[in-house]
Point group: C3
Chain length 262, copies 3
């Protein structure tokens, strides 16, 4: 028996919206410690990793490990039927091939349940080693989303360069070139508005903007985003999910011709 209950069901909606643009089908892996999901995007360039720890749920029961294949667009469709204040419960029998989502209105006068067939999805769980990064930038998630969106109106790729003073985002396109610099800024009243740079070495890497824009679908999940970069590693873009875990996106830098281009 698997039974997960979240009083703030709106959170699950945001989690699905943060993944479904990149990934269509994926396995939710559930164990006593929590739920996780790992999947490559359809072009096999970016990787999404989700963790929701069991202690973040209002009720969590998982009698045996399960790997439940789901179409994320279908799940997102079902979740859109939940009110933002609804209590969401996910249930599955140990040997069944379906999963049930139950939505209860706060006053308990409306109860909806949705049954969905599970899918068999081939996937290998990649071990992602913890790494040391040359530079880690923590900044407001809305600012990061705005910068990616703004630059994408001008060019296709972005060069992200980190120095002690700040982080610079640059692009080039038919209509011209753009540079946006965010300065280290830790003196603001609200910590979620600060930009904090931890840097071992300066680093400057090029990425495809369209993936970054997909990553920023996670913006509603967290006020801040953390971007970790090293020359020889995929970048990590992480959004914390309050008290429960995180969603992380991995993307390899572009090399060769791209560095000239943008």
């Amino acid at each position: 028996m698997l039974e997960l209950r979240l009083l703030q069901g709106g959170l699950l909606k945001k989690v699905l919206e943060a993944m479904r643009e990149l990934v269509t089908d994926a396995n939710f892996d559930c164990s006593r410690s929590g739920c996780s999901l790992q999947a490559m995007d359809s072009s096999h360039v970016a990787l999404v990793a989700l963790l929701l720890r069991s202690d973040g749920f209002d009720h969590f029961r998982c009698d045996r490990n399960r790997s439940m294949g789901m179409n994320l667009n279908h799940v997102a469709k079902l979740l859109r039927c939940a009110g933002n204040d609804d209590i969401v419960t996910l249930k599955a029998d140990d040997d069944g091939d379906t999963v049930t989502f139950m939505f209860e209105s706060p006053k308990q006068d409306k109860i909806a349940d949705f049954e969905m067939k599970l899918m068999d999805i081939q996937s290998e769980h990649l071990g992602i080693p913890e790494a040391e990064y040359q530079a880690i930038v923590k900044m407001p998630s809305q600012e990061f989303a705005r910068i990616c969106r703004d630059l994408s109106t001008i060019g296709d790729t972005v060069v992200i360069s980190v120095t002690k003073e700040g982080v610079k985002f640059s692009t080039k396109g038919d209509i011209g070139s753009a540079n946006i610099v965010c300065r280290q800024n830790t003196t603001v009243d609200k910590p979620e508005e600060s930009t904090v740079i931890e840097m071992k070495d300066p680093v400057s890497l090029t990425f495809a903007l369209r993936y970054l824009i997909s990553f920023t679908k996670a913006t509603p999940l967290s006020n801040t985003v953390t971007v970790s970069m090293s020359s020889d590693l995929p970048m990590v873009v992480e959004y914390k999910i309050a008290d429960m875990g995180y969603i992380r996106y991995y993307l390899a830098p572009k090399i060769d011709e791209d560095e000239d281009q943008a």
Copy 2:
């Protein structure tokens, strides 16, 4: 001479929006007692009936009975030119072939008049006998609209089942199945938020969701909706129009193969 005046002209906009998706051309039948309209939808499956009693108007003069054929999309277009606070007056000569809509701003500094040609529309007025229904459900109109919309993302038809405890809406589709139960609930502070069930016999009927969704275009007209059902009668979905009348939609249940499907 026909002259109808409504201080709250925004009401007429809502009435037109509630009908124009189902019905293109229809006759407004005016007499001393008020205005009414009855029309089948273009696929001849659903029936719309509107009543606006004369005493609900701020001024009502109808010297002789008129049946004025209008294209509802054209009327809706004209009414969109009225401000929500505008006073709306509808005028027609007894033997003319046009109707004039006049919109006056509350401060009387802007006056608009729109003249539209009337049409000849063949229609028979069906006598709809008052009937006894096995089950009558009164519920918040926004809740009903939300349920129809949510279920339509999953299936094409809905089974509505009424018992003493509540009303259940069920559907089935490619991605799974769904059940939404609204419990009888009369203890809420605001009567318009209550769900009240009057039931002689349990009833369970199947309907095409796309018609129900068209009916819910009337949601802005009323906080509550009343759904009346019997096994051998078309269902009635009624929205009251405060102090003036109602808009009612009639829809026959689906039979045979549909009951298996959803």
Copy 3:
């Protein structure tokens, strides 16, 4: 060296949005007295004239006269990357072929610069003589925009007729005819809500609605609009830009067959 600085950068966004629907490429002419732009729309029917006086800028330096050709859609794209509270600076070297837009966030923790290549655009600056008009109507800009939009759902052209009592907008189309009258109205509390008519002779002229609708893209720039008309002159639709100048649109009346049509 050219350097223009505006603390309220959002203003420039509105200026660009007010022009880019009518004009694609145009020269910004800068001199010590300020910046101006004059361009025909692509169908060579309407003329746009912009004036931003130097004393309206927070910093204005123009060492020698420049005529800088720009694609207005590209400039609008760049300006959309500026926050509404950003300080906007425009810079160009005297003999360079590029222009730089710099956006600084109010807290100075985010600085963006965009470099754009200038274009060579052939254009003659028309001298527009100051004229005496038969009728000048000042009215709320939102009201004017609303009337143009409403009438355009019914017809293609509008007859604007001014008398001492008010201004009348009339149109005709397939679904009927419409007249909207705005009365002279100077007794309102807020002067920006008044409708003021200065009239030497009554005048009645016909215009193509689609140009008027393009002009109303300037509505966010000013609470009021001034419409000046004479029988033998193009109409002028003017929006003041607070403390800086104006944007003016010129449009010739339609003659002959059009006067019958609408």
